[in-house]
């Protein structure tokens, strides 16, 4: 078992024939993901990476039965791509693109929600169900199959966490990179109950960072609703106030959104919070040996 995606998920790629789309789609195909086609307006009818190319998402969905879309279009076209996917009945859009304007995502997410489409990202590594389905840009070999669910705002820190979990002798069910932008799709609060309900997931790792209050919301949610052990690390304990740390959303504004307040809230909710990012694997081992 896993959450959201598995070996049967049918995936199309929006921005299929571009440089990024091509490279990562072929990596996903190598991993075993069922990439059933792609969309590049104007290139409909062609074949790319051995898969059909369509002009519109609607055509792609009608002819392939895809339910998931992986989006690689340039930042200025992200909102358009997301809304097109939502309109065509896609159930989950995984938005990899970095640099989409906040205003665009505000409209795109509202429309996706109205149409019942889930979104992941933008500005994220994607989602991977270990040894079944990779929809994103993460190195697949780092994610061995196991019993730990992973939710993270950061790309390389997700790989780091999975690597540590694997080194301790465990593995991953599904890992979701939720992205570090101010407005994102699925977040801790929506993903935690999915992992809670997944029989194969026995522990959950959540990686957060400074800025916003999603981790605080997660803490409140965990307290009431999550019985599985949760390990958390919050990046940016040493970040200065008012400075944007790489991710558009990673900023302590008006003194709120600090790592300290998030760590405290999570601890109060019974989460095993690690101070050092090198201790994530060890903490997973600890909670799973109890």
């Amino acid at each position: 078992m896993s959450i959201l995606v598995n070996k049967d998920s049918k995936v199309i790629v929006q921005g299929f024939t571009g440089k990024e789309g091509t490279f990562h789609a072929s990596q996903c195909i190598d991993y075993g993901t069922q990439i059933v086609g792609g969309v590049t307006p104007g290139k409909g009818g062609q074949e790319h990476l051995g898969k059909p190319v369509f002009n519109t998402v609607e055509e792609a969905v009608n002819s392939t039965g895809a339910t998931v879309s992986m989006i690689f279009v340039p930042p200025a076209f992200v909102a358009d791509a997301v809304m097109e996917a939502a309109d065509a009945g896609i159930e989950l859009a995984v938005i990899i693109t970095e640099g989409a304007p906040v205003k665009d995502m505000m409209y795109a997410k509202m429309y996706a929600t109205k149409k019942g489409m889930k979104t992941i990202g933008p500005n994220c590594p994607g989602i991977i169900t270990a040894e079944e389905c990779k929809i994103g840009i993460m190195p697949g070999n780092i994610f061995k199959k196991g019993n730990v669910g992973l939710i993270s705002k950061s790309g390389t820190l997700t790989y780091e966490a999975s690597h540590q979990v694997v080194q301790e002798g465990f593995g991953i069910t599904t890992a979701v990179g939720i992205g570090g932008d101010p407005i994102i799709g699925l977040s801790y609060k929506q993903l935690l109950p999915m992992f809670e309900a997944d029989p194969e997931t026995e522990a959950i790792v959540m990686i957060g960072e400074i800025g916003g209050d999603l981790e605080i919301q997660a803490a409140e949610f965990i307290k009431e609703n999550i019985s599985k052990p949760v390990v958390a690390f919050i990046a940016g304990q040493t970040a200065p106030k008012g400075k944007r740390m790489g991710h558009a959303g990673a900023i302590i504004s008006g003194g709120s959104g600090t790592a300290a307040e998030k760590m405290e809230a999570l601890e109060k909710a019974g989460v095993k919070v690690v101070v050092s990012p090198a201790d994530i694997g060890k903490a997973v081992k600890e909670v799973l040996s109890k």
Binding site: M106, Y159, I183, G212, T238, M245, P277
Partner: protein, 389 residues
């Protein structure tokens, strides 16, 4: 990206958000000319820097004659203004805004930003004009009225009424206030603003609302569709090394410690700073070299880090994914040929092909490159190296 008060007011005026009349001046002569042109018998000379608290630092002065305009401008232009937002080093004032005096009857606060939890903009107003809004929020949150504005319906009368009644405005002033707030909403949405702050918003003796101050920040990701706003960028207000880093696609933030960091990915970069602190050191910077970590970006990264004389050791922490570690190792070796690195460099490469990478670095046998086995090992080694151990 942030802009100056005078620039924000230019945008305001375009949208019909009323402000006092004013002119920007880069010299004493220009300031005097500006005051004469504006006319009247009272002016305010305001330092233009990207930081709040200018008045308390001596950067805002009232002038009751042209001679006083001249005198204040002489004092303010070229001064290093220190406010609670500039840090102790302060900011050099290179321009002033000469504004006509206003007849202030009462002062308010009006601001707009993204409410990340609601995923839509929020407009906030307070009767505590002139005070820092964070302070008001912490001490007397009941004095702040907020209203979320769903962009799919836009600014409606009821949004304005909620704020106006919340501020306790008399009935006859509600209409004027709503017009003001609606125009401000348009400024925010049309220009992809990230933040607007009017503090204070004043009511004049004749019942008008005026933006006496104006602060604006923009979504960097949207600047591509606002060339007019990008033109307002004042690079002298930004940290020069950060600007340089950005030109090479690197994301850099200077900090106060002595352990330089070069990392791939923003989250891992922050985590690396955290673990350095955890091991008893102090990070000198945040530096995300991005996914590629090729010889050119790594070399540029070394250069940028070493521009800071405090740096005593550097921690290169790369988690190789699709970019294999052996390639990154070769990149690091190349980079050390391209730029001189005269401090110990602790390199931790983990992930795809990590063993091959370690081999490459060992065989290269470069004196100041120390290899590390893991994140914790690397952090310990670099903190020790920075201490000269």
């Amino acid at each position: 990206m942030n802009i100056h008060e005078y620039q924000a007011k230019q945008i305001f005026q375009k949208y019909g958000v009323p402000t006092p009349r004013g002119r920007v001046a880069f010299s004493v002569n220009e300031a005097v000319e500006a005051a004469k042109e504006l006319g009247g018998n009272i002016w305010v000379v305001k330092a233009q820097i990207h930081a709040g608290g200018r008045g308390l630092g001596g950067g805002v002065k009232l002038a009751k004659s042209i001679e006083e305009v001249e005198e204040h401008t002489k004092n303010i232009l070229g001064m290093t203004l220190v406010t609670h937002q500039t840090g102790p080093e302060g900011k050099l004032v290179q321009k002033v805004y000469i504004e006509e005096g206003a007849d202030i009857k009462s002062e308010f606060y009006l601001g707009m930003l993204l409410d990340r939890a609601a995923e839509m903009p929020v407009m906030m107003a307070s009767t505590e004009g002139g005070m820092e809004i964070e302070k008001v929020a912490a001490e007397t949150p009941e004095k702040i009225v907020k209203v979320n504005i769903d962009p799919t319906i836009g600014f409606q009368g009821y949004h304005g009424r909620k704020l106006a009644f919340g501020l306790g405005l008399p009935k006859e002033e509600i209409g004027t206030f709503i017009k003001f707030a609606k125009a401000l909403y348009d400024v925010y949405m049309d220009n992809d603003a990230e933040m607007i702050e009017i503090n204070p918003l004043i009511k004049t003796g004749d019942g008008k609302f005026l933006a006496l101050d104006a602060k604006m920040g923009f979504d960097d990701n949207a600047l591509g569709r606002h060339p007019d706003i990008e033109d307002m960028r004042d690079l002298s207000e930004e940290e020069p090394t950060e600007v340089e880093a950005k030109r090479y696609g690197l994301s850099y933030v200077k900090l106060d410690g002595n352990v330089g960091c070069m990392v791939n990915g923003a989250g891992l970069s922050m985590a690396t700073m955290d673990i350095i602190k955890h091991e008893g050191g102090e990070p000198a910077n945040f530096l995300d070299v991005g996914g590629g970590a090729n010889p050119e970006t790594v070399a540029k990264g070394f250069e940028i880090i070493l521009e800071d004389p405090n740096v005593k050791a550097i921690f290169v922490n790369i988690f190789g994914g699709i970019v294999r570690c052996d390639r990154v190792a070769n990149g690091i070796l190349e980079a050390t040929k391209m730029t001189e690195v005269n401090v110990p460099v602790v390199v931790r490469l983990d992930g795809t092909n990590a063993l091959e990478a370690a081999e490459i670095l060992r065989n290269a046998n470069i004196e100041n490159i120390i290899t590390a086995e893991s994140l914790a090992d690397g952090a310990k080694k670099v903190v020790a190296a920075a201490k000269g151990e």
